[in-house]
Symmetry: C2
Subunit: 243 residues, 2 copies
DNA sequence: CCTGAAGTGAGTACGATGTACGCGGTAACC
DNA sequence: GGTTACCGCGTACATCGTACTCACTTCAGG
């Protein structure tokens, strides 16, 4: 674990640009952003597990080892992907209404995570915080500023929000996989019997109820998300210092 | 991605025991639990990333391919590890006081996650729900039963709680790594300059504040956790149907 | 303009990985 | 006792991350 942490920290120098201006030698043929984008494309098309240095390099028309001029390691590239995505999409103007702004933030995060099922695994447990993520962090913190919360209360609150979003999207994707009307009916067909057996055993009444409920003509995921979000925001509001 | 899902579902047959009683041939030399335990030991000692089929097998005194009589794939083994840990530790008797029981559950989860930093990566995004996890799910749902919540409200609530616990522990571990007085001072020494540079740039006031605050003589993590937990439980209580 | 240093892209090679395949041995059934 | 199903495990292969190396390109200093 010490080794992994050590590997992780060396990524920082690349993430933060390492602004020693070049003097000699040929100009770099690529940029970190291009490489990250290629990796992102690959992950979008074939999944995160098939993002390899060779394939990313091939997509750029070069060899695997060339990437190491830009990226410390594969883990570093993964971190770069995570930070790149944060940087690519613009943030809407803040309105000043914290509940609305926080809600918009949550909606944006959910959308991003739903768009790329591999993203949450990249974002989660990312000790190497990139510049884009930090900017996003600052922005989110600013939403909570002026509500009378202490700095660590603010930190914990957005931690809570982020954790919830991630967990919610995760379960959203899982439910999709189980009984999704999405284009994954092969999964459903193969998984169904097991779920059915578990339900038939009668030992798991709550699980059974959840599944049968989810199967029914339920309100759409958007509405579920909005409902939970509202509850969460209400909880935050209720525990505000001003009572 | 379809490939990964397909791989995931085949794990279920192993997770659920596949109770076709054996008839012919030699008795199996190992059990799934033994294998999972060996893998868990390995992960505890050397980290999750160095859990390989060969090393796990070596720990059992056998060859890598022998494991495949018990486990569908490496991913399946990882799932097995996750479910095994849930099954290994006993749950305390429920008191009937939902806030207390839910709090105890949260404390237990936190302890388990802190004990094994690799665990949250295993638990997160685990669509293949094992029997032990399902039993735990049922138990947690039963805590919330009788409060007037609908089944999906209950589901969402424990989803929220789980997501928060995971996120909280994650940030707890991250803060430890940055400025922990734990035995990771090499990480601190190498990471410090970057954090310092970010802080000195003056562009990230909130981040700076969080770090300087965390560095100070703060109250211990236990207390932080308890405080947030209390807040979360209060939020749940506040949105109960009975008002 | 020349020379050397700095920095580039990329090829080769190595160890480690997950696992498909197949073999020989073992235990229960007919 | 023969058949059959199942066991443990060795071999082999594709693929992975990346250490090392080298030729080539550019620019600073003479």
């Amino acid at each position: 674990m010490a080794g992994k942490s050590e590997a992780r920290l060396s990524n920082l120098s690349r993430l933060w640009g390492d602004q020693t201006q070049r003097t000699r030698g040929p100009a770099p043929a690529y940029t970190c952003e291009q490489i990250a984008d290629a990796a992102i494309e690959l992950a979008d098309e074939e999944g995160l597990e098939s993002v390899s240095m060779r394939k990313v390099a091939a997509r750029l028309g070069t060899g695997a080892m060339s990437l190491y001029r830009y990226v410390e390691s594969k883990d570093s590239l993964i971190d770069l992907m995570g930070d790149r995505i944060v940087g690519r999409e613009g943030w809407p103007e803040l309105t000043g209404d914290w509940k609305r702004d926080l809600g918009d933030f949550a909606r944006g995060q959910r959308r991003a995570l739903l768009e790329r099922p591999w993203l949450s695994r990249v974002w989660s447990g990312m000790p190497a915080i990139g510049p884009n993520m930090l900017r996003g962090f600052e922005r989110t913190m600013s939403i909570l500023d002026g509500l009378g919360l202490g700095i660590d209360d603010m930190f914990e609150t957005i931690g809570l929000l982020n954790a919830w979003i991630d967990g919610h999207v995760q379960s959203e994707l899982a439910l999709r996989a189980y009984f999704g009307d999405v284009d994954d009916e092969e999964v459903q067909r193969a998984m169904g019997p097991y779920v059915q057996a578990v339900m038939d055993s009668g030992e798991y009444p709550y699980f059974t109820q959840v599944i049968t409920d989810a199967q029914g003509p339920h309100d759409d995921p958007e509405r579920r998300f909005e409902r939970s979000l509202e509850r969460l925001l209400a909880g935050i509001e209720a525990t505000l210092p001003g009572r």
